[in-house]
């Protein structure tokens, strides 16, 4: 097996790191802060190799691959879109690891948590980099299984176990359907490698001419359904509010911030690679996004539990992402896809920050419902400010990152050449009004007077302060200065559109 060693280095870092952290936890030190720092260092190293890899990929013509065994065939391929998502995931992972340095004293069992966090990231990075269906399936399972365990990490809480079990059941059905789809594709084509954009799609018969055959079509349907469960497409989203609402906040930040979005990206990549016409996929995504946005926001309106509210808002946010990706694919608009990748970055920041802030208030004030958040501003001023920035970002209030994202989505969406895209945009704008209905009361609760008089002000641990401030600053910075981030997503969008041609 040969190839560019840079492609596999991030994965080696992460997997090796997972084992190393476990061994250190067992035999060297069981201290949380040491393990958190070590895990963060591993994330940083993986991120570093990813950055190096990025400098190795000047254009889209010669993508670095690993494991070449034929022309255009590989195990892993450093596609630009995969690099964006893996970069976002590793950056978020780094901050989450630091954050856990104090947050996890609530739950302990450090020797399980940190390796699982690293394996979760391994699965994600591997899944987006994978260039053949077999590896993709394996990494997807690795990611999912780590996620099931992390959701049920508070094993003494019954609701957490219930949520984890529900997630496990639905997730497994998803992966089984996904596997079934892969076997259909294999039955007809006899191979599993997803071709690069210049070559014909895998499903195309006889040298790539013509549409995919019947088995491949059935396979694509299964794969879209299977990955649709992972990316919480309504009506396959029912596991998400439980899982994201019950996991420890640090885990929810990862799950809501990047995992769901990476599953959606994989869905796009695989179905386009198998020959699903871009126009049809775009139409499907736009149609489904209407339900995701409306249902997610309506359900979030009636929640009393903060994390469940944030989880339903994730369903809506995935809807925004589906809409812009759908518009991009249906009308062949690079800008809309670019807005989609920009939204992925924005969602990781805003959703991550929201869950992390929620976690701090849970840690110090034991607040789980919205009413229990009253007085956060008096007792944890930093958390109130960061939470407000995150919620303002999610509600797309200018000049925060969420608004800039929505600006790009709508400007590019307006170029859609028929009514479907415009209907989607109108639904999106009405939904952003609906969103205010729960984001603003949540902000109001943070700044409401505390339930007890003379409430004590807490000193927040620096392990939590650093991630909160970094992410809060990024939400503002990305909103005010989106240029470089937008530039970063350019190649990814062009690549994804090329894949559909």
């Amino acid at each position: 097996v040969t190839g560019d060693i840079w492609v596999i280095l991030p994965l080696i870092c992460l997997i090796g790191g997972a084992f190393a952290v476990y061994l250190v936890a067992r035999f060297v030190t069981g201290r949380n802060d040491c393990l958190a720092a070590f895990t963060a260092a591993i994330f940083a190293a993986a991120l570093g190799t990813l950055v190096l890899l990025r400098f190795m990929t000047p254009g889209t013509e010669h993508l670095p691959t690993w494991g070449r065994f034929g022309p255009g065939e590989a195990f892993l391929r450093a596609e630009p879109g995969a690099l964006v998502i893996a970069g976002v995931a590793l950056g978020l992972g780094l901050l989450v690891a630091l954050y856990s340095g104090h947050y996890l004293t609530l739950d302990r069992r450090y020797e399980t948590y940190y390796p699982l966090l690293l394996l979760l990231a391994t699965g994600l990075v591997g899944m987006v980099l994978a260039a053949d269906l077999f590896n993709l399936y394996l990494f997807c399972e690795l990611m999912s299984i780590s996620a099931y365990v992390l959701v049920g990490f508070r094993r003494r809480t019954q609701t957490a176990i219930e949520a984890s079990f529900k997630y496990l059941m639905m997730g497994s059905v998803g992966t089984v359907i996904f596997l079934l789809g892969i076997s259909f594709v294999y039955r007809e084509t006899g191979q599993l490698v997803l071709p690069p954009p210049s070559s014909p799609p895998l499903g195309g018969r006889e040298g790539g001419m013509g549409a995919p055959g019947p088995w491949t079509r059935a396979g694509i349907a299964c794969i879209v359904t299977g990955l649709g469960i992972k990316s919480a497409i309504v009506p396959l989203h029912t596991w998400l509010p439980d899982a994201h609402g019950r996991a420890p906040s640090s885990v929810s930040a990862m799950l809501s911030g990047v995992i769901v979005q990476s599953a959606l990206y994989t869905l796009l990549k695989v179905s386009l690679g198998l020959g699903f016409p871009a126009h049809g996929l775009g139409t499907l995504l736009i149609a489904l996004s209407l339900f995701n946005m409306t249902l997610g926001n309506s359900m979030a309106l009636v929640q009393t539990h903060t994390k469940r509210l944030l989880a339903y808002s994730t369903v809506a946010q995935v809807g925004y992402l589906m809409l812009t990706m759908g518009i991009g694919l249906r009308y062949d608009l690079v800008g809309a896809i670019q807005a989609g990748f920009f939204l992925i970055i924005v969602q990781a920041l805003t959703k991550g920050l929201a869950f992390l802030s929620k976690g701090v208030s849970h840690f110090y004030l034991d607040a789980t419902t919205i009413n229990q958040l009253h007085g956060t501003a008096a007792r944890l001023p930093l958390v109130a400010v960061c939470f407000t920035v995150a919620l303002g970002g999610l509600a797309a209030i200018p000049p925060l990152a969420g608004f800039t994202g929505k600006w790009f989505v709508v400007t590019n969406g307006l170029r859609s050449s028929d009514a479907l895209g415009l209907v989607g945009l109108i639904v999106l704008l009405l939904n952003s009004l609906l969103g205010l209905g729960y984001y603003l009361p949540l902000i109001g609760a943070l700044f409401a007077p505390p339930p007890i008089r003379h409430a004590r002000r807490f000193r927040i641990s620096p392990w939590m302060v650093v991630p909160l401030i970094v992410m809060g600053a990024l939400v503002i910075a990305v909103g005010l200065y989106p240029g470089p981030w937008l530039g970063w997503t350019r190649a990814a969008s062009v690549y994804l559109l090329e894949l559909g041609k």
Partner: protein, 489 residues
Amino acid sequence: MNTETIWLLTTLGAPLAMALILVLLRGRAVRAAGWLAGAAALFSLASAFALLPALQRGDAPTFAMDWVPAANIRLELRADWLAFPFLLTEASVTLLAVVYAWGYHHLDERSPVFYALLMLFAVGMAGTTLANSMFLFYVFWELMLVASCALIAAWGEGSQRRAVALKYFIFTHLGSLMVLVGLLVLYDAAGSDSFSALRAGLELTPTLVTTVTVLFIVGFCVKMAIFPVHLWLPDAHAVAPMPVTIMLAAAMLGMGTYGVLRFPLSIFSMEQMAPFAVPMMVAGIVSEIYGALMALAERDVKRIIAYSSVSQMGYILFGLGTLTYEGIAGATLHVVFHAIVKALLFMGIGLIIHATGRRRITELGGLRGAMPLTAFCTIVGALAIAGVPPLCIFDSEWMIFAGGFRTPYLALAILSLFGSLLTVAYALWFVGRVFFGPRPPELTVERPHWAMVAPTVLLTILALVEGLVPAPVFAWVNQALAMILGGNW
């Protein structure tokens, strides 16, 4: 970067910097907060005046830099004649509201944040008038909303304040979204978000022109609180603390007018706007009459004046809708004069509420003897809003009605003229109930704070002076119109 550009930046920068300083100082600057904010507001007003020589030379001080080159988004500020009357109104109202707050606002450890939010509110309004690119315009437009909404939610009066703030935010955000879609359509058509691209001329299909104009007019009407999209206004004005109410009613409502002037009226030709003339005039008259009737029906003094804003914005929309030189000039002038008079009335009411602790008009009466100065100022304000000569609003209403009679729709002009009778009715009824008649025996009156009296007196003088000598302001407004209408009138 020349001197004018520096003044342009300090107009915005002084309040913005002061907001940051106050937030950073927080508890350490409780006593100084009001003074610091006042100094920043004064500096901002002075900077706005410092732009005048350049404007009179025919220049437009501009600050421009690239922001997001990939998406053709630029960061541009520009002071031109259209922006100037609004900028001046906003900066003066902010200064007076801050001075008024020295007397009205109870100091506590959150006071620096209160003044910081007032400053941000001012930055939002100044930025809205000065922005020369769409992205920036929308950022400031929403900053105005966010800051005022936070002020209402945190410092509002009554237990309903957070519900009112939520209603205010969602309602006006609906208008903002319409404006946003309008902006994005223009951005797409022009290929750049700079207003310079719009001035260069646009090629839009007639359907798109109609859509964009409807979006802009309805969106800005939400901010202007035109019936039936005025629903946020009475609650927000009644619940907000008085300095915020003053800024909302006197300055922020004008921003809706600015939007109508800046976007549909400047970009599109009068032929393209012609189909919207009658709907705008009709909506204006409906709003004028409805607001006045509601003001007559209200019992809370603050809500009476709040409904009077709905009515006054009706005059402005009517003036804009005439699409004549007189009507539009009158509407713009009315924004400035309405700001003076509305600030004066709210200040007078604030003095009454502060002195008596009562807001229901049925529990007030006979205050003429107990508070002679307040009574005089408020009566002048009420007469001014009723359009009595020689007070300032008479001048602008004259222009608006004159514009109405220039159109072919004489019936509408006559209707709006007779509608103004209702304005007289509620103004006189209000004055009569509060200052004349028997005084309830248990009504006690406290001495007002000088910081609340001084701006009230100043505005009273201004209302009179502007009525007698409207020429300077009128000249500035005229320059703005020459810009919009191209001077071919």
